[in-house]
């Protein structure tokens, strides 16, 4: 998996879940760098290089965005809309990673051009496998 110069932006308000995701990625050497923001506003600031996120070297553009839906300040769907509205950002694959398997949430996400919708598995082994597969698929197998 070496040779994939990779940054993932993880947008997740639950720090425990964020840690789970990040540790899984680290354990499986999926990405070089995982950037974590806790709310929708910070995510948009990051992607639009506002405020402290203006520094390109410290906060590189991600190749994959993992987006939770229920976020403080600006919710996940709003973040998704902003990303897909922007010509430069819309090419970055966005995977919704959430606890919600509500049909309305899934439909809404696809309406706003999400690239994939994934529900966090409760089972640890499934969670681990999902993280591994996600990273592999979007960062290595998927051609752009």
């Amino acid at each position: 998996m070496e040779g994939c110069p990779l940054t993932i932006l993880l947008i997740e308000d639950n720090s425990a879940h964020a840690e789970l995701v990040m540790r899984n990625f680290e354990d499986h050497l999926v990405a070089n760098k995982i950037m974590w923001v806790e709310d929708g506003a910070a995510a948009l600031d990051y992607l639009f290089r506002r405020g402290k996120y203006a520094d390109d070297s410290a906060y590189p553009m991600p190749q994959l965005i993992l987006l939770d839906l229920r976020l403080p300040k600006i919710d996940g769907i709003e973040v998704l809309k902003e990303i897909k509205r922007d010509e430069a950002l819309r090419n970055i694959p966005v995977v919704v990673l959430t606890t919600s398997d509500a049909e309305t949430d899934i439909a809404k996400a696809y309406t706003h051009h999400v690239n994939s919708y994934v529900v966090k598995p409760v089972d640890f082994n499934s969670f681990t496998k999902l993280m591994k597969d996600l990273g592999l698929y979007w960062l290595c197998w998927n051609r752009k």
Partner: protein, 552 residues
């Protein structure tokens, strides 16, 4: 139907019988010709020159009278319908001539000319003497009356007959047209009666109107011409109170109701049907409008207030149900999402713990355990909160009247250590009202809002919290104003959502404002927030229906 109608018409209804009598008298006086007009029901309409020999002798004696009756029967059997006279010598040997008076095909009466003798009659005195003997008449008297019976030449009789034929022809002609007019009147009356009984028997109120035009030629009012009984019942006004009056007078309004709709129907001869709320009576009506002659219109209406109110009530219920359903849906969604989340954490870190223990990574082991414990705690909090929230919907303590001021003091006391630690100041503004509600729940609201005001204080200013109240439109609105971090307007709704937190770092599960909102709603009120944005503080409001002291 025609025959029934015409039978009710009598000769005097059509022909001036008085004049006929005068004419008969004059003819008798001048020409000595006796005449009678007798209705089919034997009513005598005209009588002139009737002979004593008939009236005092022949028609008086029981046996002799039978001969008269036989003669009468013969005449009536042989009366033809072409108004031709039949000439007949009666069984008592006198001449009688008769013609039916047929008007509009109905035999109304018979014209009799007689009795008399003709000049060329063989006046057989002996047969009359014989008759006097047979029936026991006084011969002298009988012969005297006999001598008075007029005698006419055949030519004279013919002239009289011709005269009466012409008279009859004229009578029948005028009679026919008069009769038709009468029948038309009867039919009209009948139609009118049918219309009015229908009009009055209707379940709907009905009224006939005429448009009133202003000097500019524009419709400006309408006059009520006629109303039915149901109108009186529904509107509660009597015929005499409305007939001939303008709509503005009748309904005591400045502008005639529905003038535009009504005048367009009356002028353009269209029809129109609508449902409406009629403010002067506080009722709903369904009204049909149509024009029955130019510039006139009729309204047929019925009171649909009960239906309408039921409909509105139903709509309200449906809306309430929909909002409850939506709330329930949100609730289920929130609960499943929020309870699943700590479960993922627990399971995830249990998995991590396995590998960390295998590696002997003590530091990680510790942090894994903390993550698990925190998530378990979080779950416990969430469950407690959920229980509390559901309890608010189910259990409401009996409402009591209490002073808001006292309640605020108690909240301040309860939170005194937090207030002191944050150097917060709580003050009240103006006079605080009494509130009629579940005191324990209102206490929770105030406590929650004060705690929030302190929790979300600005770094550069000590919290100043002002609590006040105002009353309007039957609602008491209480506000809790702070000088804290403020809220962007786009989050005004969001902050009240279950487990919604604007700030992940802040303590608590995010149930506080959801509770505030729920308590206010259970009381029939609302909760909302206003803020000029970040850094400008917030004002949280909750409203409760005001209950007047007398009702308590």
């Amino acid at each position: 139907m025609n025959s029934i109608d015409i039978k009710s018409i009598k000769l005097p209804d059509i022909i001036d019988v008085k004049s006929l009598q005068q004419m008969a008298d004059l003819i008798y006086f001048s020409a000595g010709f006796p005449i009678g007009i007798i209705g089919v029901d034997n009513t005598i309409y005209v009588a002139a020159g009737w002979q004593d020999i008939c009236t005092k002798f022949h028609r008086v004696h029981p046996q002799c009278r039978q001969l008269c009756f036989k003669s009468d029967a013969f005449i009536s059997e042989h009366l033809n319908e072409e108004a031709r006279f039949i000439e007949y010598k009666c069984l008592n040997c006198l001449w009688d001539m008769a013609s039916p008076i047929i008007i509009d095909g109905v035999n109304m009466a018979t014209l009799f000319l007689g009795q008399f003798f003709c000049e060329n009659d063989e006046k057989d005195i002996d047969s009359f003497k014989e008759r006097a003997k047979t029936f026991g008449f006084d011969e002298a008297e009988y012969l005297d009356t006999l001598s008075k019976v007029p005698v006419f030449s055949r030519q004279k009789v013919q002239s009289i007959l011709d005269y009466y034929k012409l008279l009859l022809k004229t009578l029948v002609e005028t009679g026919n047209s008069k009769c038709r007019r009468l029948l038309a009147d009867i039919r009209l009356k009948k139609t009118e009666n049918t219309f009015f009984s229908l009009f009055n028997a209707m379940n709907e109120g009905a009224a006939l109107h005429k448009i009133v035009f202003g000097a500019d030629g524009e419709a400006e009012n309408h006059i009520i011409i006629y109303i039915n009984q149901q109108y009186e019942k529904i509107i509660g006004l009597k015929k005499e109170d409305v007939a001939g009056k303008t709509a503005t007078e009748v309904y005591k309004v400045d502008k005639p109701p529905y003038l535009k709709e009504f005048s367009s129907v009356a002028i353009d001869n269209t029809t129109f049907q609508f449902e409406t709320y009629f403010a002067p009576m506080n009722k709903y009506f369904s009204i049909s409008v149509f024009s029955f002659e130019p510039d006139h219109f009729a309204t047929i209406f019925f009171d649909i207030t009960a239906n309408k109110l039921a409909e509105l009530e139903r709509e309200k219920f449906i809306k309430e149900l929909e909002s409850k359903n939506a709330e329930l849906e949100r609730f289920t969604y929130t609960v499943s999402h929020d309870l699943k989340s700590p479960l993922i954490t627990i399971k995830g870190f249990l998995g991590m713990l396995d590998s960390d223990m295998a590696r002997g990574d003590e530091k990680r082991i510790k942090s894994d355990i903390k993550r698990i414990a925190d998530a378990a705690d979080k779950m416990a909090f969430l469950l407690d909160d959920l229980l509390e929230l559901s309890r608010i919907g189910r259990i409401i303590n009996p409402p009591k009247r209490f002073s808001l001021g006292e309640l605020i003091s108690e909240v301040a006391e309860l939170l005194s250590s937090t207030i002191a630690a944050n150097r917060a100041a709580i003050k009240t503004a103006g006079e605080l009202p009494f509130i009629f509600a579940d005191r324990k729940r209102i206490f929770e609201i105030v406590q929650n809002l004060v705690e929030n005001a302190i929790k979300f204080k600005r770094d550069d200013a000590d919290p100043v919290i002002e609590i006040g109240a105002r009353s309007s439109d039957g609602l008491t609105t209480v506000y809790v104003k702070d000088n804290g971090i403020g809220i962007e307007s786009k989050y005004f709704e969001n902050v009240f959502g279950l487990f919604n937190k604007l700030n992940t770092a802040s303590s608590g599960t995010g149930i506080g404002l959801a509770l505030v909102k729920r308590i206010a709603e259970v009381h029939g009120g609302k909760a909302w927030v206003e803020s000029d944005g970040p850094g400008h503080g917030s004002v949280f409001y909750f409203s409760l229906p005001e209950i007047k002291t007398e009702e308590i």
